[in-house]
Amino acid sequence: MTTPANLKYTKSHEWVKQEADGTVTVGITHHAQEMLGDLVFVETPAVGRRLKQGEQCAVAESVKAAGDVYAPLSGEVIAANAELADTPEKINADAYTAWMYRLKPDDPGELAGLLDAAAYQAIAKAEKH
């Protein structure tokens, strides 16, 4: 699977999509779901929760391991994907459409510090080998 060029990424394997209204959507990458294997539980952050960049805020738990999900930016959680509670496998099927939560960033400038697709791909590739 290719790493979508229109998204930003973190070293901790989250993807971040900038929405037109200034909010961002967050999920975990294809590489992350591949490392975790079949997901069985997903815990998303509560709407209204304030997150600091790098704070652990969600969990993607697979048959074999639990993966912590971190906030790529500081901000307030404005939505969470409730669908994942019953169908965590959607992340395995397509990690880039199965979003986890939306954030209203405190400082949109933080986005510039995230990785682009090429930089993230290099990290994912290095981990595989």
């Binding site: 294997g37 079949d38 069985v40 539980f41 815990e43 969990v59 738990e61 697979s62 048959v63 074999k64 639990a66 496998e89 395995n92």
Partner: protein
């Protein structure tokens, strides 16, 4: 420096099928072929096959082979009187700790066959050889690395094996549980590690690929070690090196039923077990809360702490389950707490197995 992994005769086939391979005790083995959950369900509902050729087959032959095994195994090989009968047993150390667990098949006059775990195979073989030299020099031991093992498991396993190996299956058709039969160079055993019906097929390495492909054509799903682990956990079966090891007696890991202290015979570890006063026993846990219990997590009970020895998610249960070593006073029905990630996970104590023959056996 890299150490070359050992490969089974099916290694190339696994790779061609897109398996994710892992180092399992020095063997390059398939973890899954895409989805371990799907493979698990296929075995419970239909039929799946596993390459378990990393396990070692050891043939024990000679007039004193029964006497030798009678001393080395904690279970009593005298229970094996009819050729083809199989017995599950621990191999103990003098302190009563578990060196390994194995299946011993009685195949004929003065001929027994052991199937031991891959990770312990070399130590087992060295130990058996030393004991043979000491106690029964006339017995021959043969490590059968020329054999492959394919486990075909699930409600439709026997029908599929019947189609794949018609001449062998005709003979093996009426085989009872925990029995085996040799047809030419192939041994069919009605044993397994999934809690489902099925066969473990021991055959010449050169024939393994053809059998695997034939089964695949018949619609049998290839399943990897990951599914094998969730299936055995739901079936309440121990995994050596995880649920027990040399520091654990069979009494502490739910295997008292495999130890025969009644018969007059002496065996390695017997006196230690006769004097053993275990403080903990092994029981099952099923999660009440959402989340997955994992190995090594602490279990808090009303009677003191315990520890999870195997934990994970049970696809058939659709919940997390675990095997745990807990204080003797802890009983099925108790509610305990597994140390989760940041918060505790409530769980119900149950007596394994959790699932057998596709059916959930426990209630929460």
């Amino acid at each position: 420096m890299t150490v070359a992994l050992k490969a089974t005769p099916l290694n190339t086939v696994h790779r061609e099928m897109g398996a994710r391979m892992v180092d399992f005790g020095g063997w390059d083995m398939p973890l899954h072929y895409g989805s371990q959950l799907e493979e698990h369900h296929r075995v419970r509902r239909d039929c799946g096959m596993f390459d378990v050729s990393h396990m070692l087959v050891i043939d024990v032959r000679g007039g004193d082979s029964r006497a030798l095994l009678s001393y080395l195994l904690a279970n009593n090989v005298d229970r094996l009187q009819r050729p083809g009968k199989a017995l599950y047993s621990c191999l103990l150390n003098p302190a009563g700790g578990v060196r390994d667990d194995l299946i011993v098949y009685f195949l004929g006059q003065d001929w027994f066959r052991l199937v031991v775990n891959a990770a312990t195979a070399e130590e087992d073989y060295a130990w058996l050889t030393a004991q043979r030299d000491l106690r029964a020099p006339g017995v021959t031991l043969a490590a059968r690395r020329d054999l492959a093992i394919v486990a075909v498991q699930g409600p439709h396993a026997r029908a599929r094996v019947g189609q794949a190996l018609p001449e062998s299956a005709a003979v093996a058709g009426g085989l009872a549980y925990f029995s085996a039969i040799c047809v030419g160079n192939t041994m069919l055993a009605r044993t397994g590690y999934t809690g489902e019906d099925g066969f473990e097929i021991l055959l010449p390495a050169a024939e393994a690929v053809a059998l695997w492909l034939r089964l695949r054509e018949l619609g049998v799903a290839a399943a990897g070690l990951a599914a094998r682990d969730t299936l055995r956990l739901e079936a309440g079966m121990n995994l050596y090196g995880q649920d027990m090891d040399e520091s654990t007696t069979p009494f502490e890991t739910g295997l008292a039923w495999t130890v025969d202290l009644q018969a007059a015979r002496d065996f390695d570890g017997k006196s230690a077990l006769q004097n053993a006063r275990p403080l903990r026993h092994a029981l099952g846990l099923v999660s009440i809360d959402r989340g997955v219990m994992r190995r090594h997590q602490k279990v808090t009970t009303a009677h003191g702490d315990g520890e999870i020895t195997s934990g994970g998610f049970g696809p058939t249960l659709a919940r997390s389950l675990a095997l745990a070593r807990v204080p003797l006073a802890v009983k099925p029905g108790d509610e305990v707490e597994a140390e989760g990630r940041g918060r505790g996970l409530r769980a119900r104590v149950v007596r394994p197995p959790f699932v057998r023959h596709g059916k959930v056996l426990i209630t929460i």
